[in-house]
């Protein structure tokens, strides 16, 4: 008389079967995927090269965005009037728009 298999053995068989099916399906999907087609003459993916110069933009910035200080016709760098009396000794007098 054959001995009736135990529930524990049946559970192990079901588990092994399940894992086998899952592994088969997973490997099938992995290797059955169609390779990506590569078109002849397709442009290469652009990559940055450290030796390439940066593209030059021809767009002109509007004047309004320039800094407010300007150098005009070779004069020294402009600067706002400073609020000291400059170098040298105390002036004898000062020039300015005439005042009474």
């Amino acid at each position: 008389m054959k001995k009736k298999p135990s529930h524990r053995w049946l559970d192990a068989q079901v588990l092994i079967g399940t894992l086998s099916v899952a592994a088969s399906v997973g490997l099938w999907r992995l290797f059955a995927a169609a390779p990506q087609p590569v078109a002849a003459g397709a442009p290469p993916v652009p990559t940055a090269s450290p030796t390439e110069s940066a593209p030059v933009s021809a767009q002109v910035e509007p004047l309004a965005r320039l800094p407010t200080t300007r150098i005009l016709l070779g004069g020294a760098a402009p600067r706002p009037p400073s609020f000291d009396s400059g170098g040298g000794p105390a002036p004898v007098t000062s020039t300015g728009s005439s005042r009474p």
């Binding site: 407010t68 000062s94 728009s97 005439s98």
Partner: protein
């Protein structure tokens, strides 16, 4: 002349001090000849006699010749024949009596003011024939001439400096080498923003920062553009010029204000005898290349 005057002699001699005390008398005499604000002045008498040849004093003759030289020197931009335009702009009284928002004729485009170079002059007889409709106003040229003449007279007592309302003449270098002269900051008039080292040149400043008034809702000033007959529309607040002669410096400073900062600086740099600093309405200070040798830096 409606301005503060200062005379200095580099000498400790008593006679030099006495000479300085006499300077106000000279200026009073010149005022009586040259001011349009004195009804009885020689200039007003000349202006009232347009159309006839009028003999004038040596003072008026010399100032008129200096004004003509300034007109030629500035290519006609600074000329003494703008009185009608100045009056229409509202400068019809001394500036200390100027009030804002008074009545004034609306600004109109005038025919280009006559050139003083076309005024008939009799050199031998010192006579001037103004065309009808032409009147003279010497303005800053008279101040510059007065400063130069006073410095020349005082030089007999030592190196002299005379400041006529910001137009400064020196006769020769003082004993320590140079006269230190400040340039007033137009945004803070009680302060200087540079000090110049002046040996024998003339210095003058012109600007729209003080001589201006409000009429008809707009700001007017006394620097007339001869192309329009109206107060010049300019981005320049003040211009200070160093030149060989103070009347030349005065005319050049006016040129820079009327012409605007770009043209004014270009014009100053084109003449090696001129150097200037232009302060714009936005607070920029533009130095001509020639100015470097005059700016006094700490050693």
């Amino acid at each position: 002349m409606g301005s503060r005057m200062l005379a200095v002699i580099d000498s400790e001699a008593g006679e030099a001090a006495r000479a300085v005390e006499g300077v106000p008398i000279w200026f009073e005499e010149w005022e009586m000849a040259l001011s349009r604000f004195r009804p009885e002045s020689e200039l007003n008498r000349l202006n009232s006699r347009a159309g006839e040849a009028v003999g004038v004093s040596r003072t008026l003759w010399e100032v008129f010749q200096a004004a003509r030289a300034a007109e030629a020197f500035t290519g006609g931009l600074v000329r003494p024949t703008m009185l009608e335009a100045i009056l229409r702009a509202g400068y019809d009284r001394t500036f200390d009596r100027q009030d804002d928002e008074g009545d004034v004729a609306p600004p109109v485009l005038l025919a280009s003011p006559a050139s003083s170079l076309l005024v008939e002059c009799d050199d031998a007889g010192q006579r001037i024939l103004l065309p009808r409709g032409v009147q003279l106003d010497f303005g800053g040229v008279a101040k510059g001439w007065a400063a130069r003449e006073a410095a020349r007279r005082l030089d007999a007592f030592g190196p002299a400096l005379v400041d006529a309302g910001g137009d400064i003449a020196v006769s020769r270098p003082p004993s320590d080498g140079a006269w230190p002269i400040g340039i007033r900051d137009p945004f803070h008039p009680e302060m200087n923003f540079e000090t110049l080292r002046i040996r024998s040149e003339g210095v003058a400043t012109s600007g729209t920062d003080y001589h201006r008034w409000r009429r008809g809702g707009r700001w007017n000033h006394h620097l007339i553009d001869p192309a329009t007959g109206l107060p010049a529309e300019t981005d320049v607040l003040t211009a200070t010029v160093v030149a060989g002669d103070v009347t030349q410096a005065e005319a050049a400073a006016k040129y820079a204000v009327i012409a605007g900062s770009a043209q004014g600086l270009e014009w100053l740099e084109a003449d090696p005898q001129l150097a200037g600093i232009i302060v714009t309405q936005t607070g920029e200070a533009l130095f001509s290349k020639g100015m470097q040798k005059y700016v006094w830096r700490s050693e």
